[in-house]
């Protein structure tokens, strides 16, 4: 099978402006991935499926990943001009200072695709796409018209992560009930408070059981069991 670099070159030759980016994977599995731009993703998908050499006719796995807003602290070397008194004379000297800068990296939702070829019996080729943010701009193009196997998996990602797939023929919740409002696999999802009886509470459960107890005590003034 072609390497990721070759696939990238092939995609860029076939789909101008595809803007494919290689995401290296440091794990020994060596499954590096290609990040696509949502605007060209469907064209790239058709190319990958129909190309003579690649023939990736089988979309095996499609899933979402949630990345929260992250505060990144990085140390930057900054050159500053400092006024110093050297030998009784005031001078302006360049000085290199290390500074910790913090910036917020906005969170995003990511979808990951694992492609194989049944005709050529090779794979996987891993693709990724990102949404702009986690709140309002969560649209990604659907690949269901290209690979039918995406149909339920995209519905699942929509259900659990809240990625909206444009072009999906039937985008409804897959696992949760239709009235449900949240996206429970997101990392900031808060579960409903139903920890009424916990004889063996631990870590997160302990915290939630405590919260529940406090809430109940505040409401009724009566204590219940953990």
């Amino acid at each position: 099978m072609k390497s990721v670099e070759e696939i990238k070159a092939a995609i860029e030759a076939a789909v101008p402006g595809a803007g494919v980016e290689i995401v290296p994977n440091p794990s020994p599995s060596g499954q590096h991935s290609l990040r696509l731009l949502p605007s060209h993703a469907v064209a790239v998908a058709y190319f990958l499926r129909d190309d003579e050499d690649l023939g990736l006719d089988f979309l095996s796995n499609l899933t979402g990943v949630d990345h929260l807003d992250k505060e990144i602290a990085e140390k930057v070397k900054v050159t500053r001009q400092v006024t110093k008194t050297v030998d009784g004379v005031e001078q302006t000297v360049d000085e290199v200072v290390e500074e910790t800068r913090k910036h917020m990296e906005p969170g995003y939702l990511e979808t990951v695709y694992h492609l194989f070829s049944m005709a050529k019996k090779h794979g996987p080729v891993v693709l990724r796409m990102r949404t702009v943010n986690r709140t309002d701009e969560v649209e990604l193009p659907s690949v269901t018209p290209v690979w039918r196997s995406a149909e339920f998996q995209e519905r699942e990602v929509f259900d659990l992560y809240g990625v909206v797939f444009t072009g999906h023929p039937d985008l409804r919740r897959l696992l949760m009930w239709p009235e449900f409002k949240d996206h429970p696999m997101r990392r900031d999802y808060k579960e409903p408070d139903d920890f009424e009886y916990e004889p063996t509470p631990h870590d997160t459960v302990l915290a939630r059981a405590k919260d529940h107890k406090a809430a109940v005590a505040g409401q009724e003034g009566t204590g219940t069991g953990l």
Binding site: H114, W177, T204
Partner: protein, 389 residues
């Protein structure tokens, strides 16, 4: 498989046109499930019927959504192993293997030779259990209440006894570890397995005789629920269902995982892609599995079953990701793990063969009678624990 995909027109993948009744009467909408005696658990199909014929079928999932993926992201790598048992609860050992394989890929862990042989033996026993009970359930849904399922379960009990004496539990084995297996099977266990395996061909033969040429089975199954190979590939269908449509794709042959390339076995392929072919592919796979078992039990080497360098507690893989997959009895079972260097995976994803095989359920059922829907659904061979996770 005929030619490549490009000569088939998949642009119109959207379903065959809905048959609209001609004026008289209306479509009858039926919700089949979640409590329905024929479905394999809690599964619901919303059907629209024109008389007896199905004109629309929408599966509804989630009645057994147990949040495996969320739990996988909160507990440690080791603690997730027993949860994988409960994904496809008929075949816990293949689930164990798929998960162990994914983690081994993630950290580049080698597995001792003996452990690989044991894994093959257990996986093939599991495959026999699964296929036998799948056929039993299918025939039960056809109306033969009891007998075939009874025979399948009689054989299953024998294999389950082997699992219990090795792993400690009948169904939820929790046996494989990253870098090997938990306990070394004794010589007595291997002998007992040889004895059971020696009895299996007779069972397979009887099971075949019981049903294969039965006229009722043939009348109900042949030509019903056809699946075209092009659609099967495009819809990501895997396992016996894909092979029944005539696509030669068995991950044991393609990925060469474990020590499968040391064994001689054939991949049964169907021709028509109907219920009968799916059923026959499973029957033939039981025969092939028995062949693999005989070879594996003959050749099993000595040695450790666990890589001594493998870590069990405090397992923290370096950041990275891996997708590992095996040929489960139901199809391609994959685990996708992203590690951020922590105690538990950042993302834990199960690629469920049962769910994705159901993508084509509507296409297979359209135009058939309601009674056939139950059969077509049964021939997909799903387990709800894996569909909904």
């Amino acid at each position: 498989m005929s030619g490549s995909l490009r000569d088939t027109n998949l642009e119109g993948w959207n379903r065959p046109p809905v048959i609209v009744p001609d004026g008289e009467g209306e479509l009858l909408e039926v919700a089949m499930g979640p409590h329905h005696p024929s479905t394999h658990g809690v599964f619901r199909m919303d059907l629209a019927l024109d008389g007896e014929r199905v004109v629309r079928l929408k599966p509804v999932f989630g009645y057994l959504h147990r949040n495996h993926e969320q739990i996988g992201e909160t507990v440690s790598y080791l603690a997730m192993m027993p949860y994988t048992d409960r994904l496809d609860y008929i075949c816990s050992l293949t689930n164990n293997w798929a998960y162990a394989l994914a983690v081994e890929k993630l950290v580049g862990q080698a597995v001792p030779e003996r452990a690989e042989y044991i894994r093959v033996i257990l996986a093939e026993l599991t495959r026999i259990v699964n296929h036998a009970s799948a056929i039993g359930f299918l025939i039960q849904e056809m109306g033969a209440s009891g007998t075939p399922l009874m025979y399948a379960f009689r054989e299953r009990e024998k294999i389950l006894d082997l699992f219990e004496s090795l792993t400690g539990s009948r169904m939820m084995c929790n046996y494989m570890r990253f870098g090997g297996c938990r306990v070394d099977p004794s010589a007595a266990w291997l002998d007992a397995t040889r004895k059971v395996v020696a009895g299996l061909p007779q069972f397979a033969h009887e099971f075949e005789n019981l049903l294969m040429s039965n006229e009722i089975v043939m009348a109900r199954c042949q030509g019903v629920g056809k699946l075209r190979p092009e659609l099967a590939i495009n819809a990501g269908v895997t396992g016996p269902m894909l092979r029944a449509s005539g696509v030669n794709y068995d991950i044991r042959k393609v990925d060469h995982y474990g020590v499968y390339d040391r064994f001689k076995f054939r991949v049964p392929l169907g021709d028509h892609g109907d219920i009968y072919d799916r059923y026959m592919v499973r029957v033939l796979e039981i025969h092939e599995s028995i062949g693999i078992l005989e070879q594996a039990l003959k050749e099993i080497p000595g040695g450790p079953v666990m890589d001594p360098k493998a870590k069990i507690r405090g397992f923290r893989p370096k950041p990275g990701e891996a997708y590992g997959r095996i040929e489960g009895p139901k199809g391609e079972l994959g685990f996708y793990l992203i590690s951020d260097g922590g105690n538990s995976p950042y993302r834990f994803r199960v690629r469920p063969p049962s769910l994705i095989n159901l993508t084509v359920l509507e296409d297979m059922c359209l135009g058939h009678n309601v009674a056939d829907v139950v059969l077509i659904f049964g021939s997909v061979d799903i387990v709800l624990g894996e569909v909904d996770r």
